[in-house]
Symmetry: C2
Subunit: 237 residues, 2 copies
């Protein structure tokens, strides 16, 4: 049965952040991500495939033309699912939390979440000016890890105050910090990572008790934020 | 003096790989990358800026309209330099070499080179089906590190044979390898990194003496190739 025009229109609207907020929904594309979505326990609103042998009660068969209409990709995949945005919260008493301060690049955010999942950093907080979590490029870059990490947004900008009052040690990544190879982490901890262009902003810097850095033996002036974050999470996991 | 139509045409042609080969030239964009280019000692064919206060004997002033015509970026920067492609070679007796096997994504290759520069892995070999080194997106992602690392292409596919005969220990990154936290590197070494979708191909696998992996405490199925490479270079640098 062909997908209705109303549904096509609704899913296309989810390409834009404001409609994701209104509809409280986001979408994932690609076989692996859609598989993860269906197994996640999150609420599935729609799931589509163009592969007739893979369609099922869970995944409706649509044409490639229909897929091209709803996809955000220039080369659409054969799978797309629309999911309800869940209410996420951090694990209670998690001993390490990654705090991302002003990370605007969707690919970087997605890659950080994917790596956080791999390395067991399951709790991530986004400052209120990070790229929106449900941005299709963020979701794409997590490669399904979006369903396996806990991410909250620090809308009010008070999360660091709370973490500090609860006794977490607050670290910040900075070119002028102590080498992470020499510094032993004290748990529970919060690791703040700033954007590549601006570093950690003043508002978040106030909370940092210890700056750490990745020692360099070369001449590069900086590292990509996803790379720096991954090396730090690796060293301290 | 306005830039001639012939030069605009020539620089635009360098957006394509075949003309980069014919002209033996590539271009860099962005302030930091162009600064690095001018300081690199490599041969500068043209250097342009749209900022009148920064133009000099080394950098010709052009209009924003002219810049938009020669730029590969949807939002052009204020700086562009055209460079001669140099003859690069690896350092003699380098004790560690990164070998990239079939890495097709330009952003990943550029990011790996930038991180390699930071971590002191100055010698990199590309299999002959990697993305072309002089691709504008590769150059852009290196953030100027292209001028500080030695990169050669294994056109003939014989580089690993030579490295092996010279006594290098050859490692490969693989999900089923030994944990890199437990394995002590034996120098001189070659570290082979495959693409995310295909891993290390059979032709390169033949040479691998020891597989290593990044231990995971999460559920993610894989890591981005630039992330995996960076963590491995970090651990063994």
């Amino acid at each position: 049965m062909p997908i209705s025009k109303a549904i096509i229109k609704k899913i296309k609207s989810l390409h834009q952040a404001k409609f994701r907020r209104v509809e409280n929904a986001f979408f994932v594309e690609g076989k692996k991500s859609v598989e993860e979505a269906l197994q996640s326990g999150w609420k599935v609103l729609y799931a589509f495939t163009t592969e007739s042998n893979l369609s099922s009660d869970n995944m409706e068969l649509i044409t490639e033309l229909e897929m091209a209409q709803i996809s955000s990709l220039s080369t659409p995949s054969n799978f797309l699912a629309v999911m309800e945005i869940p209410q996420m919260s951090l694990e209670e008493n998690s001993n390490k939390v990654l705090y991302l301060d002003g990370v605007r690049d969707p690919g970087n955010l997605g890659t950080i979440l994917r790596t956080a999942d791999w390395l067991g950093w399951k709790n991530v907080v986004l400052s209120n000016d990070c790229v929106e979590l449900w941005n299709p490029k963020v979701i794409q870059s997590t490669m399904g890890s979006i369903f396996k990490v806990n991410v909250i947004s620090d809308e009010a900008g008070t999360w660091l105050t709370e973490a500090q009052s609860k006794g977490s040690k607050i670290y910040g990544a900075d070119l002028n910090g102590t080498s992470i190879k020499q510094e032993l982490p004290q748990f529970p901890l919060v690791m703040i990572l700033g954007s590549e262009s601006h570093g950690i902003r003043e508002a978040a810097k106030e909370f940092v008790q210890q700056y750490i850095t990745i020692p360099s033996s070369g001449n590069a002036e900086s590292l990509n934020v996803a790379i720096a974050g991954s090396i730090i999470m690796y060293q301290w996991s």
